[in-house]
Subunit: 276 residues, 6 copies
């Protein structure tokens, strides 16, 4: 919660800084208004609590309620939440709340599309580190809300040995051996493979997870047969909504999709004040 | 530069935190490698200096050079920059540098498309406050790089009197009067209008800028004729690449486009290390 | 509010740091006392809410009330506010609360003197960027409380083209042209002039605001006649309480006064505890 | 040095924030200029290194030199320092450098006046905690530069038992006893006295320092005779440039003056760029 | 309190960072549980309020109560505190609360042992600057709770002139003279001595406190006789539980012990949840 | 490196704050001295680079060199490093450098003792989360330097399902199932067991790591036989230098030892300046 409060605090500072000069200049008397957030297109809702915390960071006394839960699928026109509070504070918080919630709902909605696309296969949709700098914790949450699973959070909490690492270590066997002797016993070792020969070597080395990097469907299928359950299999590269199903049907366990976080369009949500 | 350094520092902390455990676990000897950034699709390049600063934040001694300048239009396959430095540090910085540069280039590329769409009219493309929380300063820069103009940075450095403000102040005349008596003489007053009647009242009130909010093309054209140069005119709402030209041709001065920053897809850029 | 809370938090840390060793060493039992703030000279009061927030930062449960509002003119001996709370916390907050309120009241009081000196003319008294580093937001507030108007907050929210800028750009015309093509449409352009020839050129260039820098009264009057309402006019330089009236009577719109913030003496306010 | 760097960093952020929009809008080519700081009235110079650090925080490569040292007494017209660096960075740093240096020189100059006023007596001029919130470390430095001595830095590094403390502890004897048993052996105990009876009790209690609070000259003289070197004596309250000499002549050791820091007017210093 | 809140906040961030993934992964419903802290060995309890603040930082609504006060001596098996709150938050806070309280109780317990060892002599046990980086304020508090006295907090609030300082100043006389002319009158001067000749010179110089550095018992006794109450005497170096009594019996006033903070073993405390 | 720099910066601020008043008061001329760090007892050295960075944070120009590497075993009297730099800065940094290095060497030395105690068995010594709040990254490094392995860094990068979690989830099977469906595929699942029945259930549930919590040697041995290589086995509880060998000989893979970080005594290291 601490990290999310810092994101909200930074976002409010970025937008408000020395104050909302428009509202100040109008010298309005303080007054309470009610309002609501409304979906202007169909979406997987995400960020309700974040929006609430944005407003409460500005006006502790405000009320905020919703009949929805993050992850609900709603149609255009749905009222997402209703609230009441100090008019000036609500106007100050509007843009930050929407900017966060529209982005989070965008990620959740896109993730849900990928998850539906692989329904019935055993493949899980996972995210990558291709997130918006500073917002990773929110975007990874939105992926889960959309039905996806998170890959490692950053460089610090998961081992993924890539081509450059392998070359510098002198091969897959040696790389896995060195890593195993060093890392906490609570972490698995994932290794990137470019060919079936790599896959064989990764298996011999005892890798826990084998990433199939940018392989075509035939090669992927062959890799799945070779691995035969002896390691978790992640497909990576060239994944989009039109290719993901076929990839899933090769039998891989995990499909990682950068677009979930780097290119999800914002969902359209608006805030309306009543009797303002 | 201070704000950008903070964005970079936060992004590196977010990704690296206690350390790149994969690289640490391989216990590699320190060694210098060279590498390059490469465009994997056509784009308006943006963020070259930001990428450089990401790497230099990790390895002060690294070299980084580019024959390009932010704003250059490049084809897929173009080498964007070459560099050399400590291999482990480059691998640690890769994802943050790309995450920032791909997003900035995305915003610049989309902005350039809008700017080209209105070429030959007097209309300028401007951004909004619908930016990524925490990255506004970079995204506003990318809009300029793409040929657009910035709207106010936040609530603190520009006056934009909206419907709720007008209602609470008791009308356009009174709102403009109050605001003028309060604000620094260095700021203009912009007011949102919903109808031609509003436009007339805004003119009488002496507003410096009149925003035409979600008006159809005919009404916009009529508003332009009524205003007749007595205020700057901003069109807002319902703007996309297929509508922006017609809007520009109504004679408005400014067209604000939220999508520039809230929905620009990331451009595809990759980093390659040589002899790593 | 965020910025003010940070100022208060820093000021308390500066004064208290590891703790009030005097009070700690006396090992007193916790007890509630009441007290009041009292004006020891006539002043325009400023900073009541800031003082309240200082105390509440240390003791959330304390009560604080005042029959006055910032901007009220009071005589020596007036009770400014009464309060009750934990004795040790009140003693810890006393100096910070007074340091801030005495300074803010000093700025407001001096501003009010300038405002009274130009009463009946159309000239407005404005501040400058000659503020106390770290306290600008409070001092600009105090200027408004004293009846003045704020100039731009900093380098980021207003355009003021000075002599050095003009020289480097190749003249007034070119400087205004370049600036206009770059800045948000929400900002005006102010330009510094040293002579009537400069004034003429600034008018031709379409500057929104013309600053008359260190001109004598005759030249200022001539400039006012030349400009004839086509730009806002700011007088700057050599302003003090004995010259400000004559400057105002030349017909300028705005008179900026650095002394409002860089040399206002602190007002004398004391805090007394009852039955402590 | 860490604290001063933070003051400078905050002050630059306060003034520059997202950037100097005037300079940016003029799209000038980068170029190096030289310049100087000049005293526009006689003063005790203070803050030369602080000004240098402001500029170097913006432009690491700049040069800065001065033939003066903080504490030097200079006439109006004296060149305080010369420098050369990037024009845009110098213009950005100008106001912050001057705001700090003018204030520090103001404090040093006023302190030097008090020090001269008591020349030939044994009394030392000391400051108080009535400093500008956030700038205490700089103002206490300026007092030393002006020839004064610092009182405790804050509540945490010196013991000063005041009236309220005494009342709550049940008398001077008990207050001193409790404090002595608690505090580090490296600290002295100072106690506030309102009468000669208090002075007697403080002596009996073994106070290291006795503050004579708002006493008239006769009472002060009598207190000095009673104490007879058995404690350090501080005079406090009602001190100004016309009373300080007589106070010093009563034989007190220390005279504390709040005005040194809360009401010193800024010294007039200007920055000029050559060939800019 | 501010400093302690920062320590707690940093410690929680260090341990929890992006979240307690174990608890999250179990997707438990929110529920309130009660629990208690229990001493698993005899100790001088320290840190009860710190533990409470750790938990309340995570769950504002939790209850926490204890029949003990910091400084109480308890046997193994004693219930130190009971509490109730949200199960997930209590589990998240457990380790940080225990890590702090076990360390603080360790310092208090060891200090109490030293204090008991010198009971009946006039010697006071004091700490040093050999504290855990970042936790000094808590460890110095724990020393007081254990019956010790604090030495200076850091380099900024006490004067201790050591061998290197003396050599660089040209002798003890000159060092004390310079220091006296500079420092606040609220501070004493302590000087390190290596021999009886040094002690004589320190006395002549008027040092307030004389540290006997690593002297044997005979020399210490001789130093005490020479000083004869004219300065406070601190013994330093080679102090442990088996030597401290003999040192105290030489008649020194103060014995400083680095081990109090740099080598106190953690006390064993456990947290148990009921009906969790 | 970023985290370590923050620890150093906080530690220096904690000790120096507004400045080293002793050194300032002596008004010494700046001068360069050389010096060295010396082991005053046998130890596994740890923290050489940290000490270097402490000094360089104060004096960028200083030189620092060592013929040792962290992890080297040295005898009492060994010179650990030599350096040269500004005398005042070295004196300011001394305590922080030593406080960090003595603690780190203490942890490394104690870890090395445990590692030697289990030499020849397959058991690895690992740390726990019982670290000094704020210093975890340094202490976990010291454990590795001493030959140990790190357990998870915090609650965020490893799954450890404990008794309370199991009870709240309705049993081991259900807890493992839920956790597996949620966590990144890069993490293993560790589960705490109290009995052989728990061990059986954990195996059935497919736990990756089974912790044997506070079991006696016989039960541990039996658990090892039951698990038979199907999960990693961690022994926890009641581990000290006299019991660790027997525990290792039961055939467990991992032995976690809280004392490595919560109770390692500081190693004695001193700093000497030459010609100071």
């Amino acid at each position: 919660m601490h990290q999310i409060d810092r994101i909200i605090s930074n976002a409010l500072e970025e937008d408000i800084h020395t104050g909302d000069i428009t509202t100040q200049s109008l010298q309005l008397v303080q007054r309470t208004v009610s309002g609501f957030l409304k979906a202007k297109e169909g979406m997987t809702v995400c960020g309700l609590q974040v929006a609430e915390r944005v407003f409460k960071a500005l006006d502790k006394e405000m009320t905020f309620s919703s009949e929805l839960t993050d992850g609900d699928q709603v149609d255009s026109g749905t009222i997402l939440a209703t609230f009441a509070g100090d008019a000036a504070q609500l106007l100050q918080g509007e843009r930050v709340a929407l900017n966060l919630m529209q982005r989070m709902s965008g990620v959740a909605t896109l993730t849900a599309q990928y998850v539906r696309a692989v329904a019935g296969t055993k493949a899980r949709i996972v995210d990558t580190r291709k997130t918006t700098p500073g917002l990773r914790v929110l975007e990874k949450y939105a992926v889960r809300v959309g039905g996806g699973i998170n890959h490692r959070t950053g460089l610090y909490d998961g081992v993924l040995i890539k081509e450059n690492h392998i070359a510098a270590s002198g091969g897959i066997m040696e790389a896995v051996r060195r890593s195993r002797s060093y890392i906490p016993h609570t972490l698995k070792i994932e290794i990137e493979t470019e060919s079936l020969a790599d896959v064989q070597e990764a298996l011999s080395a005892g890798a826990d997870i084998i990433m199939l990097d940018n392989m075509d469907l035939l090669t992927m299928g062959e890799a799945v047969r070779i691995i035969a359950g002896r390691a978790v299999i992640e497909a990576s590269g060239g994944v989009n909504l039109s290719t993901v199903r076929a990839i899933a049907e090769t039998g891989v366990d995990i499909i990682s999709v950068g677009a979930l976080t780097h290119s999800a369009p914002a969902m359209d949500i608006s805030m309306l004040l009543e009797g303002a």
